[in-house]
């Protein structure tokens, strides 16, 4: 789903007439990473793995056998020492786990300071093969996507090991974190990330469990406006946060809908993507703008779910001492 959104932004350039939104779209991809990382402060009391120096691999147990998201079986005899991640949510996870020093390359969409000094391999979907070859890699983390089977084949032909991940929904992200932790020998760090996320999700679920579900829509922008349908990551978050996506009958993941359709469905809350204003005809409905980071699945999903839940059920979240 993350990939869907960021590529959608790029593809949207050709469909949206409003160039301002297009520019914003490009910057959004950067935003998500920054926001997600910022939002992902470890809560006090959790184990914090070292970010510099060698990672804590005391929890490592090799050989590790895994099946990746494309169905390929992998056996890791040791932690890979030179890796590139083409999938930003995986990159995020790796950074959080403290194994950033294993990364020897980045994509154009990874603009965080820690990775700035690394050579870029281009886009995540069609990376520059020459640079990949020259980096002498132990592992490439790639999308398990329909559109990029060709890249997988070429990587195989060039003898570069690759592990496929599917970063589309909440469960996917959790799986990625778990798998990457095992591969990199940083299971402890991974597990603590997972328990933190699960903790937040459980807390949110508990708070909104008995409450009636407000009718919510998430608008990405454009004219006519594009909304998120069922099966998208944002839809998952909205559901976890105790809301009901009014467009849960949408066919494709994201689609433009007419103003009439928006007006016809009673709305309790309009969630808007970053930089947008609510449509004038719906000015009477409560609305809120979310940072672009919430659209993209990543380790920051716990925080994202909580932020959305606060908007949907403000009363359920009394300020707590932190």
């Amino acid at each position: 789903m993350w990939a869907g959104i960021y590529v959608f932004r790029a593809g949207a350039l050709t469909y949206f007439s409003n160039t301002v939104r297009g520019e914003r779209g490009m910057r959004c991809s950067v935003w998500f990473l920054v926001a997600a990382l910022v939002g992902c402060e470890p809560s006090p009391g959790a184990q914090v793995p070292t970010v510099d120096g060698e990672p804590d691999t005391s929890s490592a147990s090799y050989p590790v056998e895994l099946v990746d998201a494309a169905g390929t079986k992998h056996t890791f005899e040791a932690a890979p020492r030179r890796i590139v991640s083409l999938v930003p949510s995986a990159t995020e996870a790796l950074l959080e786990m403290g194994v950033a020093n294993r990364l020897v390359g980045r994509t154009d969409y990874d603009r965080v300071p820690e990775l700035a000094g690394l050579p870029s391999v281009g886009g995540g979907l069609q990376p520059n093969l020459e640079i990949l070859v020259s980096l002498d890699l132990d592992l490439v983390i790639r999308f398990a996507g329909e559109s990029d089977l060709a890249t997988a084949e070429r990587l195989t032909a060039l003898g570069i090991p690759h592990f496929a991940v599917q970063p589309d929904g909440i469960e996917d992200v959790l799986t990625i974190i778990g798998n990457l932790g095992r591969i990199m020998g940083a299971s402890d760090a991974a597990d603590s990330m997972l328990s933190e996320i699960r903790g937040v999700l459980t807390d949110v679920a508990r708070r909104v469990a008995e409450l009636p579900e407000p009718r919510v829509v998430y608008i990405l922008g454009g004219d006519p406006p594009w909304v998120a349908g069922p099966g998208t990551y944002i839809d998952e978050l909205m559901t976890v946060a105790g809301g009901k996506n009014v467009f849960d009958d949408l066919g494709p993941l994201y689609a433009p809908v007419s103003m009439e359709a928006l007006l016809a469905r009673e709305l309790d809350l309009i969630l808007l993507s970053e930089g947008l204003t609510p449509p004038s005809l719906l000015a009477h409905v409560r609305s809120a703008v979310l940072p672009g980071s919430v659209e993209i699945p990543g380790p920051g999903l716990g925080r994202a779910a909580r932020d959305i839940a606060v908007l949907i059920h403000p009363g359920a979240f009394d300020p707590e001492p932190r």
């Binding site: 050709t14 050579p119 069609q126 020459e130 070859v133 559109s147 060709a150 084949e153 060039l158 993941l253």
Partner: protein, 341 residues
Amino acid sequence: MKPVTWAVLLGFIVVLVFLLSLGLGSVDLTIGEVYAALRGGGDLSDRQIVVDLRAPRAVMAILVGGGLSIAGAVFQALLRNPLAEPYILGISGGAATGAVIALALGLAASFSWALPAAAFAGALFAIVLVLRVAATADGGVDVRVLLLAGVVVGAYFTACMAFVLSISDARTVRTLVLWMMGSLAGSDWRTVGMVTLYTIPASLALVGLARPLNLLAIGEETAGFLGADVERVKRIAYVLASLLAAAGVAATGVIGFVGLIVPHAVRLMVGSDYRVLLPLSFLTGAVLLTVADIVARTALSPAEVPIGVITTLVGVPLFLLLLRRSVGAGTGIGAGTGSGA
């Protein structure tokens, strides 16, 4: 300058540009490293870059650039229209529709060759459809109908493609949009082999048709009076040129403008004799596309600029320059029309 001189010069330039293409790219390699890689020695990653990544791309650029140029020249003779180019008869629309259907159905997930195969099938479908519409009762081809049918069929397919896109997910959209702008990135030796299989025989056969194609430029009736089997020549030329364009599109996406300007540029150099025009167009197109590919790979490295963008951005000013210089000499593009009444 005599045609043979041009041919030798261009051949030399092709080789030069090919070698350049091996040496330039996202990763800097010295001439020594390239040479070592070609001989089987040197660093493994250097070898992989030169032999597995850059060499097939360069060969593909030569094949597709040459093929599109020949196809463009042939369509210009067939349709008697200097604005004709390989995609004018709906081939790119058909190919794009085939590609997007393969993407939307998720076929590309199961077979990596599903996309090129579907694109080729779509192109073939467009070719056959247009041919049937333009076929005359006695098995010939009415070129006025051909042009109109091609444009209309192309528009129809483009609309089909847009419809499928409008109900597809974002990843499909982006993949198709990039594909439509053309790229040689997917070139490996296997695809190069398949494209060679189409391109070389078709190009040779079309060069063999050079004389009757020359006659077509004067007029179909006159060509018939001079002894050419006009209908047969038109049909064969149409099919072969379309296959050349379809093979190119299937392998690399839509690379526009090459098939239009290269024949004209060559015409400005050596005149309209197709016995000379076709081979020189092949060589010139090969050079153009190889250079364009080098620029596409290096200009914004590590990202790749779609090659169709390069061919147009570079090709148009060059062409305008050539055009201006020729207008005065009375050898310009429009200079041939309307005379002989």
